[in-house]
Amino acid sequence: MTNVMGMNTETTDISVVMRALADPTRRAVFERVAGAREITVAELTRGSGVTQGAISQHLKSLKQAGLVIERPEGRNVYYRAQPDGLEPLADWMNHYAAFWRERLDKLRAVLKDMDPEDPNA
């Protein structure tokens, strides 16, 4: 049995991050937050074609996924991108990259077994 897509704490993160970014509108909201230093719900709503309530819901999901941070100030809440928010995605891919590195090392050993006569081996 080989653990290729095993469950661990990281998988919860990746699942939440990917779910949060799977929705095109929510991804667009995240992109705008990431492109700005800080931005309010009102600013995000302007010209977005969706209601402020919808934007707030998207921000809530992004916050839960660890992708944005909020900072209340007076009557406003400012949002900015969480710097390490996308790391779970990297972890996910690293898992596969590590898997294949390890397999190709094994392949090297198998080839040597199969073909010990090869002068270069």
Binding site: R27, R32, L104
Partner: protein
């Protein structure tokens, strides 16, 4: 050398290495079920014939039973061997969700042996051009991390 190629909305893992063996030996090692089992994973029902469906049994995750369902897509002796790699479960979202990827081995004879390029492609990441521009730093960091860590093996 391991690199990470980001295309459109998907990402690939690419490993490119030269093995000091003849292409015939390498071809056998990657297309013979028993030999595959010795270095990759033991395939069930594998035959190196286009259209052949086989599986790899891995550890279950969540609602997914751990079965990787594969289908041979291309068999060009001594040149290219590709198969679909599908796993995960519809019920899972994100990691562990339905994974529809392709593994391609490409062989090329070189002076010191055979060059093998392994590409595992089709990992869907939430990325597009706008995202790349706006999230620039985040993604570059993400890809750099992948390249660095993957290259350390």
């Amino acid at each position: 050398m391991t690199t990470l190629a980001v295309k459109a909305d998907t990402t690939s893992i690419v490993i490119d290495e030269v093995f000091p063996h003849r292409a015939e030996v390498l071809w056998k090692a990657i297309t013979n079920g028993d030999l595959m089992g010795r270095w990759m994973m033991k395939p069930n029902g594998f035959e190196p014939v286009v259209g052949n469906r086989f599986t790899f049994q891995t550890t279950p995750a969540g609602k997914w039973d751990g079965t990787i369902r594969c289908e041979v897509l291309e068999v060009a002796p001594l040149e290219r061997f590709a198969f679909a790699w599908r796993g995960g479960d519809e019920a899972n979202i994100g990691y562990g969700s339905k994974l529809d990827t392709v593994v391609t081995f490409t062989l090329r004879k070189v002076q010191t042996g055979t060059r093998l390029r392994m590409e595992h492609s089709g990992f869907v990441l939430p990325k597009n051009d706008t995202a790349y521009t706006n999230m620039g730093k985040g993604w570059i960091k993400c890809v750099e991390t992948l390249g660095t860590v993957a290259g350390e093996g």
